[in-house]
């Protein structure tokens, strides 16, 4: 559901949650992106930064510069006239993935849960364009929605989270794909690994010059299946800092 007007929810005294619905849809996501744009452009005194997500935006502010009440009043003024956003800038980024095997131990489980073969899961997952609906949890980790898939892949998450997920793991939980940028615990089913960094704390590859994080809300990903040998070859290029990302700057509309 998308609400008629945004809800302003306290997140302590330095953050405000602006919620526009309770669904994970492109429509909700586009509204949040539009809201984010409007707030950024308004340059409200005391606002520090925004964090747009699936269906809400977390705004951090300095409550010594602007009281919560004044902030909400200001936001209401801005967001009452928020235009319906139908098109956003959206990069299309190719990421190589080695599916299955040692780095994708849950691929067969994903296949069984969807009554498909592992090969069919790989085909569907890599043919489907994925939408970045939110970035976070750990640095640069994208939450990805399948855009008009030929068959929606879905799988239960781990009942008890594992302690260790290797860096670069591509995993499915529910119908959301995530990529693990750093070693961390996790609950999504591990389908494969990408040899390409989406988070580079040293900012050594040129793409990371401005930020150690590759992806942002509104980007789209295309996973390209590679075999183990090519995966190693790409990894080598990343080490040598000669890997070049395949990125197309486009727009996407609903």
């Amino acid at each position: 559901m998308i609400y008629e007007t945004p809800r302003y929810l306290y997140s302590g005294d330095q953050y405000l949650t602006i919620e526009i619905g309770d669904e994970m849809t492109l429509r909700a996501n586009f509204k949040v992106i539009g809201m984010d744009r409007a707030i950024q452009e308004a340059r409200i005194k005391g606002c520090i930064e925004t964090f747009p997500g699936w269906r809400s935006l977390l705004l951090s502010y300095d409550n010594l510069e602007i009281s919560t009440r004044d902030l909400i009043a200001e936001l209401k003024r801005i967001l009452d006239v928020i235009p319906e956003v139908t098109e956003v800038p959206s990069r299309l980024i190719e990421l190589p993935v080695k599916y299955g095997g040692r780095w994708g131990p849950d691929l067969d489980f994903v296949a069984r849960s969807n009554n498909l073969s592992a090969a069919e899961v790989v085909r569907i997952h890599s043919e489907t364009i994925h939408w970045v609906g939110m970035v976070g949890f750990t640095p640069g980790s994208p939450q990805l929605m399948q855009l008009s898939p030929s068959s929606l892949l879905s799988v239960p998450k781990y009942t008890s989270p594992r302690i260790y997920t290797p860096k670069g793991t591509v995993a499915l939980g529910g119908s959301i794909t995530a990529i693990y940028p750093v070693v961390s615990p996790g609950g999504y089913q591990m389908m494969g690994v990408t040899p390409v960094p989406i988070y580079d704390r040293y900012q050594s590859l040129s793409i990371f010059e401005k930020s150690p994080v590759l992806l942002q809300i509104g980007d789209r990903l295309k996973f390209v299946p590679v075999e183990a040998e090519e995966c190693d070859f790409i990894r080598q290029k990343v080490w040598e800092e000669t890997y070049e990302f395949k990125i197309k700057k486009e727009f996407y509309s609903i």
């Binding site: 330095q14 953050y15 940028p181």
Partner: protein
Amino acid sequence: MSQATLEVIQPGIFSTVQDLGRRGHFASGIPPSGAMDRFALRVGNLLVQNPLGEAGLEMTGLGMTVRALRETVVALTGGSFEADLNGNPFPVWETIALRPGDLLSVGKALAGWRGYLCVAGGIDVPQVLGSKSTYTLGGLGGVRGRTLKKGDLLEVGLPRVSLHSIQGRKVKEAILPKPGAEKNLRVVLGPQDDHVQEESIETFLNSDYRVSIRANRVGYRFEGPQLYFKKRAESRDAGLDPSNIVDDGNAIGAIQIPAGKEPICLGVDGVTMGGYVKIACLIAADMDRMAQLRLREVMRFKRVTVEEARYILEEALGKIKEENIIRQ
């Protein structure tokens, strides 16, 4: 120009370089980091006459031993720690001059849990994304993005004033927090308190909670009574458990209650998003208090309004001023 001024002889349990944190990268999943107890860091910097947001060393539970390689002036603030300088007792909340070869040894926390060592001129490490703060999960800032280890050489910036002029400065007793004496963490309800049954909100606000051993800069887990959720309409995207919501951004200080058990209050290195109901959020001023809670300590959550929270923060920051420093 910076010069190696301190050598880490023994690093303690979890010692890092911290300033007041970084801004502008939350939307990329990078939390602010920075000192958990900002009051202690700011006052430490005031003592040695650094800018209040300058980087110092944060120690956790068990402090560190450092050797001075050059002349400098330092101040130890935060919790009360066993500490000695070349074997002689070392005071907290005042400035002490170190000479080359001096051994400053900070031991166990006696009261409170985090200590801050501020150095005249500030710890000089490169700014990463606008801050010197260490964020270990993302490997950013501080010394190579990690906790300090034996043998690390720490450089210090140029002091703003002469070292001689900042010796013998001490904080007035009246403005010092009393670790262990204050048993409340003040919270503002929301953003999802409306998912929780009213009786359970009362339970949350009126029960003793114990700090679990799973307590660090990412989050503090508290042991206490079971909380219950309201029946909700079926949600396609939220997940099966009533404590699940459609993922949203986590404020620093947000208190998640997965399955209604063991509230987790996020620290300054907290995960930036999640899919659990957040019953309330810690007010900014009380991150300092949480930072000083000891493992297994018992405390309570107390409700305040956002207006009260603002007043509390203003009052806390107002204490950090030159008038509250005594010259001995």
